[in-house]
């Protein structure tokens, strides 16, 4: 699996590591890792409604942070479970820009096997590192 949950980083919370070859693929995996904390079977989320995410940041870590926040935002503000299929990252005058196309549906406890609610993305050990094997993001979520 391109993302794995880390055992003992945050005792009351959930941590994950996502891996991919490109920044865009890393963001897709990290989004799924966050969503999978809240819903057990990602395949149960049907692509019935679409939302676009937009974010800007000075570095890739902050961009990932802003991007992940959007899943939490739409879950609370519109009760949507979303998955991202396509991410585009641009760079202009030192600022990174992100556009992501997300699709999903309203939370339905009768159809979605729900787990714990994610309250926030934290900065604890938040990191994106470039290794020979690819890009690796470490993220700790407050539950």
């Amino acid at each position: 699996m391109p993302y794995t949950y880390l055992e003992e980083i945050a005792i009351a919370d959930v941590a994950f590591e996502a891996r991919a070859d490109t920044r865009e693929a890393l963001f897709v995996e990290a989004g799924d890792a966050l969503m999978n904390v809240m819903v057990e079977d990602l395949k149960s989320v049907r692509p019935l409604v679409r939302r676009s995410f937009h974010a800007q940041a000075e570095d890739l870590e902050r961009l990932l942070f802003e991007y992940l926040q959007q899943f939490i935002f739409f879950k609370d503000a519109e009760q949507l479970l979303l998955r991202v299929s396509k991410v585009a990252i641009t760079q202009e005058t030192g600022v990174l820009g992100l556009t992501a196309e997300a699709a999903g549906e309203k939370i339905d406890p009768s159809r979605h096997d729900l787990n714990a609610d994610v309250k926030a993305v934290t900065l604890h050990r938040f990191r994106v590192r470039n290794e020979p094997a690819g890009l690796i993001a470490t993220v700790v979520l407050d539950i």
Partner: protein, 485 residues
Amino acid sequence: MAVPRELRQISDAVWELPVSWKPGMRVPARLYGTRDLVEHFDDGVFEQAANVATLPGIQKYSFCMPDGHWGYGFPIGGVAAFDPDEGVISPGGIGFDINCGMRLVATNLTCGEVEPHLHRLVDRLFERIPSGVGSTGFVKLDEDEFLDVVEQGSRWCLRNGYALPEDLELTEEQGCMEGADAAKVSHKAVQRGHNQIGTLGSGNHYLEVQVARKENIFNPGLARAFGITMPDQVVVMYHCGSRGFGHQVATDYLHVLLDVMERVYGIRIIDKELACAPFRSPQGQDYFSAMKCAVNMSFANRQVILHRVREVFSDVFGKSPDDLGIRQVYDVTHNTAKLEEHVIDGRRRRVLIHRKGSTRAFGPGMEGIPERYKPFGQPVIIGGSMETGSYLLAGVESGDQTFYSTAHGSGRVMSRHSARKKYQGKKLVREMQFRGIYVRTASLRGLAEEAGGAYKDIDAVARASELAGISTPVAKLTPIGNIKG
């Protein structure tokens, strides 16, 4: 990690890490707990209590309560007082779930009277008090109305028929922190929170129907004063907070403060999650106002849930809430920063107290607790795991040693992941039912994460707080029904 060698025992349940333990510590760290509890603190507790001790303007000690464990920035159970003129305010000292808190409600029903109706009662509570991922409440508010709620807290509930005047009197801060300014919160926070009034949330948030068994009343006088007056009396206890609204306020300001902390104010910190700003700075004051909005949202959330509890009991037992003796005992907050007056080195001073996973525990006679409780001290409600029970305690005079702060719960000892491997939700439901606890949950896996074995021994936490002289046990309350997000 082993307990640091430099840790010195001050008394039976008080331990100290000297300023020499970590570079930059301005004051020693004091950790509360019996030897057994302290030896089982995770690594983070010592490190983080020491990190907090490096923050500008900290007074006396950086504290950690007996239920302490690793948190973001401050440990959970962390308490620190700052000089308002020279010190800082830090979202990491308050937590993401601002004013996560506990409310205890008494009834005049006994366990024997409730048991025949228990399943219907718990089922109805589960239906009427939404919980779990993305749940929305029954109070439908547009964004403008929600801004009134966050500025007015439980007062808004009183005006709109969701509260009795007595409920407000029996809530910390009377259910509204003065100075909340909705202009200081982001639109995103409002969008996340405006439909969540009256919801429990998930994680460790729950509502329980509990019993005060005769053998679990440790101080009958105080129990009576707080409304626990008969054997096997049924009470309702719940734990929830400011939901997505508070989480967004915390996230927003973590970044605001990170941006200015070093660049503008020259403050260097050990851990990003300790982001802070001088309390008197514009950013510090903005966060304080926004935090108060989240505090008030949470008071309103617990108040609306009390309204639902009254409706459900009335419905199930066919009597009015008044005839059922449904009366709030008290409501306490866990995650806040507040300006309070305390005596420091013989001088009465105003300080900004951060309590994160810690309960205020004012002693007898102190200002700020309801008149009817003044002779007895403030009720303190600490939630245990869903299997083991919870405690009602009272503040004591000797609580001045921690700026009148005590534990807030039992504290996790096992990660969520490990708990899910060790326990199975369905099996847990059956086992709990066998032991007389009827559970309804929005998530069986979420339930497994909250198994009793994932938490510290609540009895040990209560005992340590008594031994240290920061609060005194009044009664242990054991569950017969539980709803979980």
